[in-house]
């Protein structure tokens, strides 16, 4: 079976990527500032909703029920979209989705498209695939624009340029905007308002003249055929409204059964992702709205494989809010690039190895990119038990032999209390011989931390000697 493509090649294992990121003090500073800002905002708007627990439970159950009946709802969605004048295409993998989109664009005679931020199209590497067919895709979300102009990679689900601070963004705009269209103003400062204004001017003309747009969708309603896109800047509305042709690439797990279900997700998603009561703009359209030509491309790309997994399938409930990234202490210190996938952070650590398999060293290392602190599970608006899935994936990943030997030895000792007692007595006698720095992988501890002093007497020896302290 071919390996599912996820937007970037699987390279070095996570710990090596992470070690480099941890030493990048600018990156650490940017991430710390951004994640702490958003954490506080999310916490305050979630605390404001008196029925958050009930919304979360309903969100979990609706998604679970949808996945359980996914075949039915996908067929219903297809019927509804078609009845409303849209066209539905099915793509089994990234290559097929890219081919379908490229052919649709070519059929319009256009060579330029504008894009709304979309995880699905990043996952399949659509921009690169279109370029190979002579079609230029212009990213219009501010953060995506920063990434595209900087020839960079996204590092966050919601804010792909979270690793960049305002000064770096100013540099990128000043240097690269001219290569893609209207140059940045000569006197551009690093004031966020000035940077947003520069993006507005840079993209304005492009929005008004481009004839084809490509988007993803946050939700697709089976009952009505309605597509839903949440955004902030208005670039989404520009792309969804002005062009003559709209192509939406949507993962099959994005379907929701009924219109009413939105009453849950339109509360869960904005509060979890940007920490707002509601995001500035949400667009909903059904089929060929206002005379537009509409194509829906339903994408599998490994999702049905995840669906087959009893424990792992809950990852498909994900609504891409990124609350788990923002709260994760590991993500906060490594950033998204260390995860080697368009899906970074805790959700990426369970989604990527499931979608791509654990053939590479990187993908095998991802389930271990967590201290299992549980913060991700606590904030997840659809209650994905990420720590449990991580542990499950760890049990399936092949282990290095030295670790296997160590774990087997520890298991052997711990299997009999007598063996443990003998080890403890030996440890007590040899306790002065423990070196300050340990060799091999254990050195990771002693590089920065002292070892605890081994006691003369273990608890069980004390218990036996004193009859539980009674003597």
């Amino acid at each position: 079976m071919s390996v599912t493509f996820l937007g970037m090649p699987a390279t070095r294992p996570f710990p090596r990527n992470a070690a480099r990121a941890v030493r990048d003090s600018q990156l650490r500073f940017n991430l710390r500032k951004a994640t702490r800002t958003i954490r506080a905002k999310r916490a305050s708007v979630v605390a404001e909703a008196p029925d958050w627990a009930e919304l979360r439970e309903a969100g979990r159950a609706i998604k679970e029920h949808t996945l359980r009946n996914l075949d039915k709802y996908l067929v219903q969605l297809e019927e509804s979209v078609t009845a409303a004048g849209g066209h539905v295409h099915w793509a089994a993998d990234a290559a097929e989705a890219n081919r379908i989109v490229a052919d649709l664009v070519k059929a319009t005679g256009e060579t330029e498209v504008v894009k709304v931020k979309s995880m699905a199209t990043q996952e399949i590497g659509l921009n690169e695939a279109l370029l190979a067919q002579g079609i230029t895709a212009y990213e219009t979300d501010l953060a995506e624009l920063i990434v595209q102009l900087g020839d960079d990679r996204p590092s966050h689900i919601l804010v792909p340029a979270i690793h960049r601070n305002r000064a770096e963004i100013r540099e990128i705009f000043a240097e690269h905007m001219s290569g893609w269209g209207r140059p940045a103003p000569e006197d551009l400062t690093d004031d966020p308002a000035a940077l947003a204004e520069a993006a507005r001017l840079h993209l304005r003309e492009r929005f008004l003249k481009t004839k084809v747009a490509i988007s993803g969708a946050n939700f697709a309603i089976a009952e009505t055929g309605t597509m839903v896109v949440l955004e902030s800047e208005g670039n989404g509305r520009m792309c969804l409204t002005l062009p003559r042709t709209l192509i939406s690439v949507v993962g099959i797990e994005k379907v929701l059964p009924t219109w009413r279900d939105l009453e849950v997700f339109l509360q869960l998603l904005p509060r979890s992702s940007t920490g707002e009561r509601m995001n500035p703009y949400t667009s909903m359209w059904t089929g060929a709205a206002e005379g537009q030509e509409f194509h829906l491309v339903l994408l599998d790309n490994g999702r049905t494989g995840v669906l087959a997994d009893e424990v792992g399938r809950q990852a498909l409930r994900c609504i891409r809010c990124s609350a788990c990234l923002n709260v994760c202490p590991v993500y906060e210190r490594t950033g998204g690039h260390a995860y080697g996938s368009v899906y970074p952070g805790p959700i990426g650590a369970i989604l990527t190895p499931q979608l791509r398999g654990m053939g590479s060293e990187l993908d095998r290392s991802l389930p271990y990119a967590s201290s299992l602190c549980g913060a991700c599970y606590e904030v997840c608006p659809v209650a994905i038990d990420i720590p449990s899935v991580l542990v499950e994936l760890r049990a399936r990943a092949p282990h290095p032999w030295a670790e296997r030997a160590g774990m087997a030895a520890a298991g052997w000792v711990l299997e009999r209390s007598g063996r443990l007692a003998r080890m403890q007595r030996a440890g007590g006698r040899l306790r002065r011989l423990v070196p300050r720095r340990l060799p091999g992988p254990l050195g990771g501890w002693t590089d920065t931390r002292d070892l605890p002093k081994v006691p003369e007497e273990s608890f069980r020896e004390w218990w036996d000697r004193t009859d539980g302290g009674r003597r």
Binding site: A19, V22, L372, L420, R449
Partner: protein
């Protein structure tokens, strides 16, 4: 009431003072504990590192050792979470082992739960005249949800000045083998925790888990900070008569 102490392998081997403190504290409160000699380790390290077979063997042995008691007291939020949250997953939905797990899990209490929920006491008569800060630890906080039980107990300790720990709910970066497999990230997390502890000006950092304390204390020690780490049980065990440890 027959009460078993599940001391945990880390406390048994490296921090026997914590186990002794639990025994003395409970005796002072009129509870005699039993130490089932067959116990070793709950299996968390194996389970969380992906060695399920070994973990199941250790879970079976722990459940067998702890069966038949009215209560099992664990001076570790993490190991209590292992028994209550993870054992049922390892045991599967049904069968004799699942039944035994359900029984033992329902009787298992972390120390502060046992003191407050079972014994109904918040003042254990302790005396500890020091400035103390408390780190909640992830598995105590989000796993078994100890809530403010430890703080409630600490507030009743005579002479103790409790200072809040900034960013208390954040992980210290221990995470079992995470500290070795992702040593750089783990150390970075620990460094932030250490800074927060030092910012409080506390003399003592306490927690309901010695593994996290071993991690943070290892860095506090390496930095020669002078801040001591102590398990909560050892503070609660201290009295004017006995003194510390």
């Amino acid at each position: 009431m027959r009460v078993a102490l599940f001391v945990t392998c880390v406390n048994d081997t490296l921090f026997p003072g914590t186990g002794r403190a639990v025994v003395r504290l409970l005796r002072r409160l009129g509870v005699e504990v039993d130490f089932p000699r067959a116990q070793t380790c709950c299996g968390q390290m194996h389970a969380n590192t992906g060695y399920r077979e070994e973990a199941v063997r250790l879970a079976r042995r722990s459940v067998a050792a702890l069966r038949g008691y009215d209560a099992v007291v664990v001076p570790s939020g993490s190991c209590a979470a292992m028994i209550r949250e993870q054992y049922p997953k390892l045991a599967g939905p049904s069968g004799p082992f699942a039944d035994a797990v359900a029984h033992v899990a329902s009787k298992t209490y972390e120390l502060t739960e046992f003191l407050i929920d079972v014994l109904g006491t918040t003042d254990v008569g302790a005396y500890f005249p020091h400035r103390v800060t408390y780190h909640p630890t992830c598995h105590s906080l989000r796993g078994i949800r100890l809530g403010d039980r430890p703080l409630t107990l600490l507030r009743q300790v005579k002479g103790l000045e409790l200072v809040p720990l900034p960013g208390a709910e954040e992980c210290c970066g221990f995470g079992g083998t995470f500290a070795l497999k992702n040593a750089d990230v783990s150390a970075a997390m620990c460094a932030d925790k250490v800074r927060a502890v030092l910012d409080t000006g506390a003399e003592v950092l306490c927690a309901a888990d010695n593994s996290c304390l071993m991690h943070i204390g290892g860095m506090l020690g390496r930095q020669k900070s002078g801040v001591r780490v102590m398990h909560l049980a050892e503070i609660l065990c201290s009295t004017e008569a006995v003194g510390v440890r």
